[in-house]
């Protein structure tokens, strides 16, 4: 039996649509599943009080604070260092084997599993440098983890700025630093911002590496050397130990909404980048 090409075409298109719709359905299902079970348990108390009875009751305020501390500090370290490194590599040095090697290294490290960073941090920061399980250890580990990504996206954004703009700036008597800040960074900002925002998203979702470096203390972290439990770690422990399903769903809801908002932010800033360049 010979099947007409038109028929195979129709079958194929139907199959492709099925596959795509299924994929989107999975996404929507996951979000709906978590939010449906978790949203009813979200309350002001949830956001403002501390957990009691190992998390079976109470809220997640220390976890939110812990997440903000760890993520905030990590990005506060990684963003300037990463962007500065990218600026130095593209604007202040000539292209050479060394810069190509650094770029290759950053590319590779951007793909290394986060658990390996956790491995490093749990020995180097926690033990060797004596920081213990703490916000500081966690933040430094996360900073090294997202650094390659920030270097890479910043570098790409800077390279996308047309060479002519630099010539124009020099021609008008600008110094190198004026050219870098007023012309290059101004144009590359959306691309750089996207990289930073994505790194924030990745930090918030990170679990295993943080358990090994920031620990899982239930209390409110009051200093950089206190151990802290982030929201994703809390969620993992709640679900693994089966302590309280409602609280677990609620924590997951907060996590999902936070990460989705961040991704939306990255998406929006990326579109501005494309619009500016084209």
């Amino acid at each position: 039996m010979i099947i007409r090409p038109v028929t195979t075409h129709r079958i194929a298109v139907a199959a492709l649509w099925t596959v795509t719709v299924l994929t989107i359905a999975v996404l929507l299902f996951i979000i709906a599943f978590i939010l449906a079970q978790g949203a009813p348990h979200l309350s002001v108390e949830f956001f403002t009080s501390s957990p009691r009875s190992m998390g079976r009751e109470g809220g997640v305020l220390p976890m939110i604070v812990g997440t903000l501390f760890v993520t905030g500090l990590a990005v506060a370290i990684a963003a300037p260092v990463g962007i500065g490194t990218a600026v130095y590599l593209t604007e202040y040095t000539r292209e050479s084997r060394l810069t190509a090697l650094i770029r290759f290294g950053a590319d590779c490290l951007a793909g290394i599993p986060s658990i390996i960073f956790g491995l490093f941090g749990s020995v180097f920061f926690v033990i060797t440098l004596g920081m213990g399980l703490s916000v500081l250890s966690g933040a430094l580990t996360l900073a090294i983890m997202v650094l390659p990504t920030i270097i890479r996206t910043s570098e790409e954004a800077i390279r996308a700025v047309p060479r002519v703009y630099r010539d124009v700036s020099y021609g008008l008597g600008g110094t190198r630093w004026q050219m870098v800040t007023r012309v290059v960074l101004r144009s590359a900002l959306p691309g750089i911002a996207t990289g930073v925002v994505l790194s924030i998203g990745r930090s918030i979702s990170e679990t295993a590496a943080l358990m090994l470096t920031a620990g899982s203390a239930l209390g409110m972290p009051r200093s950089l050397l206190d151990s802290a439990r982030t929201l994703s770690v809390h969620f993992y422990i709640l679900s693994r130990e089966g302590l309280s399903m409602p609280k677990a769903y609620a924590s997951a809801s907060v996590l999902i909404v936070a990460v989705l908002l961040i991704n939306l932010l990255a998406y929006w800033s990326m579109r501005r980048f494309v619009a500016k360049v084209t």
Partner: protein, 286 residues
């Protein structure tokens, strides 16, 4: 002028600290893990299936097989669904629907935390497998499905880029010869975008190999070699995450050695992906 020189020095220091931080990490991992591997014999470490830390036996073969099995399964799923979405997005879908709805959805998939994936897997997928397919539910199959969905956005976006990079003339030429759009796709476009798609798959594999939390939650993590799709499994990353908190001495070094193995695997995958995409660029005459 003086300000410029000062800034150059500051930026140099910043760049040095950034680069040396990364180099430090790499060196540290290798320094902690490599000596043990050499002492035990690299072949023994990789091929032995005896992982009994308390007796000083460190063989990671079951974990390597576990990682390979789970990754292979994940790639099958992400290839079918991910490539399917990419083909639909670039060849068959009206552009506004594609960029406005489907693409954002797929990118949102990439944003969901891995613990949430693991949780949904444990709560819904694992009981389903246990009840309808047998076995404990915590299995290679469950891990593959969860990982496949997680890796899907990577495969989709890189494949879509590769397909979009195919010159329009190929597509138009084929249609002008009377081929249907599907014939054009599978006879012309896919072949032309093949190296990009291969790169997408390889990068997806890298992501899958490196994933930890979701797999820990749905895989079961026994110390044995998996013998079927439905048997529980432990991957390299799970091994590290589960044992690190209480490992000491040689045990800890063995976990670092596992890290070294992972590092090398990812480097190999990255290099292959780079070589593949370079070959594509050269062929396209760039």
């Amino acid at each position: 002028m003086k300000l410029d020189k000062f800034i150059r020095v500051v930026l140099l220091l910043v760049a040095l600290s950034g680069v040396s931080g990364l180099a430090l990490m790499t060196a540290f991992i290798f320094k902690e893990g490599l000596p043990l591997m050499v002492r035990l014999g690299v072949a023994d470490f990789i091929f032995s299936s005896q992982w009994y830390p308390s007796e000083g036996q460190f063989g990671i073969a079951p974990m390597i097989v576990g990682s390979l099995a789970v990754t292979a399964g994940a790639m099958v799923i992400s290839l079918v669904f991910g490539l399917g979405c990419a083909i639909l997005l670039t060849q068959f879908c009206p552009p506004r629907l594609a960029t406005g709805v489907i693409k954002p959805c797929i990118e949102l998939l990439a944003g969901i935390p891995s613990v949430v994936y693991g949780f949904v897997g444990v709560t819904i997928l694992v009981p389903f497998i246990r009840d309808y397919l047998g076995g404990p539910g915590l299995s290679v199959l469950a891990s593959s499905i969860v990982l496949g969905v997680m890796v899907l956005p990577t495969v989709t976006s890189i494949s879509a880029d590769a397909l979009r990079a195919v010159p329009r003339s190929y597509r138009e030429g084929s249609i002008a010869l009377g081929a249907t759009e599907w014939q054009t796709t599978h006879m012309v476009m896919l072949k032309a975008a093949m190296s990009g798609i291969v790169a997408a798959v390889i990068l997806g594999m890298g992501r899958a190999v490196g994933e930890t939390m979701a797999v820990i939650m749905v895989a079961g993590n026994p110390l044995a070699m998996p013998d079927s799709l439905l048997s529980p499994v432990r991957t390299l990353t799970s091994n590290i995450a589960l044992e690190m908190s209480y490992a000491a001495g040689d045990h800890r070094k063995a976990l670092f050695a596992t890290g070294v193995t992972l590092f090398v695997i990812i480097m190999i995958l990255n290099t292959i992906a780079l070589a593949v995409s370079r070959r594509r660029a050269r062929r396209a005459g760039l």
